[in-house]
């Protein structure tokens, strides 16, 4: 590692020089590198976020009477009392005494769909992730519920023993290497300033990286035309890690989310975001 620091210093210097050049009036050409072009593309994306379509559908879903018992989700307690949505996501995952379990948002939604609306677990979790016209209720509900935490400071507590246990286990899972490629979450997200191809990778072991990453999910993925939740993010990371299929709302997914969400504490929540 030490040997690299000299080179890194040089790279920083070159980057700084590049940044200084960028301030000069452009002489015909627009950008210095493909990385700059991508940064510009990302900036342009911020102007209009189709996540609003999911948010509108989610709000309607929350308020619609559904299920065998024909009740809405408005009696659902996301941690701040029945029906309180504002700021709830910034405190999840958390321990819920009525289920004696730490739950993330999607897990809590399944809980309310089964205990209040009367859906079976299989019915409720039939479609965790949407594809085209086959929309996922979770993606819509999560879009709306998380939008109600926009600007709220992340504040995930570790006050209950089960919350501390989930965090501790989540950390272990983060570093767990397995599969034919020996990949752990930490393989790609354990160092700062790294990228895969041209995609920047957040360092989730550092506060700044965890904050930037966690507070920008859910996100509308331009490449897929879908709004994706944090459960989807974890599932698709594990697909690329060559692991088996991470079960929707599984204990490992909740523990890992607890670890990452807690590490993002102190940052303003800023999703649904829009990503490439």
């Amino acid at each position: 590692m030490k040997r690299l620091s000299g080179r890194r210093g040089l790279r920083t210097l070159l980057l700084a020089a590049g940044a200084a050049l960028a301030l000069l009036p452009p002489a015909g050409a627009f950008s210095q590198s493909a990385v700059d072009e991508i940064a510009k593309y990302r900036q342009q994306l911020q102007d209009g976020n189709p996540a609003e379509l999911w948010e509108a559908r989610g709000e309607a879903l929350w308020k619609t009477k559904r299920g065998p018992r024909n009740v809405s989700m408005e009696g659902c307690d996301l941690g701040k009392g029945p029906g309180v949505v504002k700021g709830a996501y910034a405190e999840l995952p958390r321990y819920f005494a009525d289920a004696d379990r730490v739950m993330d948002l999607e897990t809590r939604l399944v809980h309310c769909m089964t205990t209040q609306q009367g859906f079976s677990f299989a019915e409720a979790t039939r479609r965790p992730f949407g594809a085209g016209s086959n929309r996922s209720d979770f993606e819509s509900l999560a879009a709306w519920i998380t939008s109600e935490s926009k600007g709220v400071t992340m504040n995930v507590a570790l006050s209950h023993p089960k919350e501390r246990e989930a965090y501790q286990i989540g950390e272990k899972i983060f570093y767990f290497r397995g599969g034919p490629h020996d990949f752990a979450c930490a393989t790609c997200h354990g160092e700062s300033g790294k990228r895969i191809r041209l995609q920047d990778l957040p360092n989730l072991t550092e506060k700044a990286g965890a904050q930037l990453a966690y507070t920008t999910w859910p996100a509308y993925r331009v490449s897929q035309g879908e709004l994706r939740t944090f459960q989807w993010r974890l599932n698709d990371c594990y697909r690329q890690q060559r692991f088996p299929d991470l079960k929707f709302t599984s204990d490992a997914s909740i523990a890992l989310t607890a670890f990452l969400a807690r590490n993002a504490n102190g940052a303003a929540f800023n999703a649904p975001a829009i990503k490439r």
């Binding site: 286990i169 490629h181 790294k194 041209l198 995609q199 299929d245 991470l246 079960k247 997914s253 523990a255």
Partner: protein, 207 residues
């Protein structure tokens, strides 16, 4: 001084007991994490649950960077991985760099949604710079541009390069790089082709 020491010791003991109550031991957390993972994944396509069964290298390397491995442990990991390398029976270590370039570009293979009948890629560019032409490269691994030009193509370099692709942890314990031969990600011919991509003087890596 003397009167202070016992107080400090008592405080330290109280803190240790409190910490013990607050959290599981590290080992207990590892065991629980494994249990939880086994119940949290389902088999899909070619990705079976045995992918969660760690070999010793995986288990020892599943630690935060703050847990630095003891020198003997690193040495043991490297020794065991070195012993796993199988060199081609025909003695030829360099194949076709053009095929090597295709393998280096491809990220196909072994994901639960991949067709197991299609050959896997190595996806070298995901983490390494290789040729000057390909500007879409990652930086998790070091740049390999000019790899062969800097090292030459001696028998020793060929053996090291093929061996590194076959099992990276033979040379660096807990390397982030997949063990392409050891874990049967690439075939022998594919590893020869990747070796050629890195070493052949005509390869874009060395231009």
């Amino acid at each position: 001084m003397n009167s202070r020491r016992p107080t400090k010791a008592i405080l330290a003991a109280i803190a240790a007991i409190a910490a013990g109550c607050a959290s599981m031991s590290d080992q207990e957390a590892s065991q629980k994490a494994l249990q939880l993972m086994k119940s949290s994944f389902s088999e899909r396509g070619q990705a079976k649950l045995d992918r969660l069964d760690q070999d010793e290298s995986q288990r020892l390397c599943s630690k935060p960077p703050s847990h630095e491995l003891a020198k003997e442990t690193s040495a043991r990991i490297e020794k065991e991985n070195l012993a796993s390398i199988r060199y081609p029976a025909d003695g030829k270590l360099m194949g076709d760099w053009k095929n090597g370039e295709r393998i280096a570009q491809s990220g196909q293979g072994m994901q639960f949604n991949d067709d197991p009948k299609r050959p896997s890629g190595a996806n070298c560019y995901a983490c390494h710079q290789l040729s000057k032409q390909e500007i879409s490269f990652g930086t998790i691994g070091p740049s390999l541009y000019q790899y062969g030009k800097l090292r030459g193509t001696s028998e020793a370099i060929q053996r090291y390069t093929y061996g590194k692709v076959y099992n990276s942890q033979a040379f660096t314990a807990c390397s982030n790089m997949p063990r392409f031969g050891h874990n049967r990600i690439l075939t022998e011919q594919q590893m020869k082709d990747v070796t050629a991509l890195l070493l052949d003087p005509n390869s874009p890596v060395n231009k």
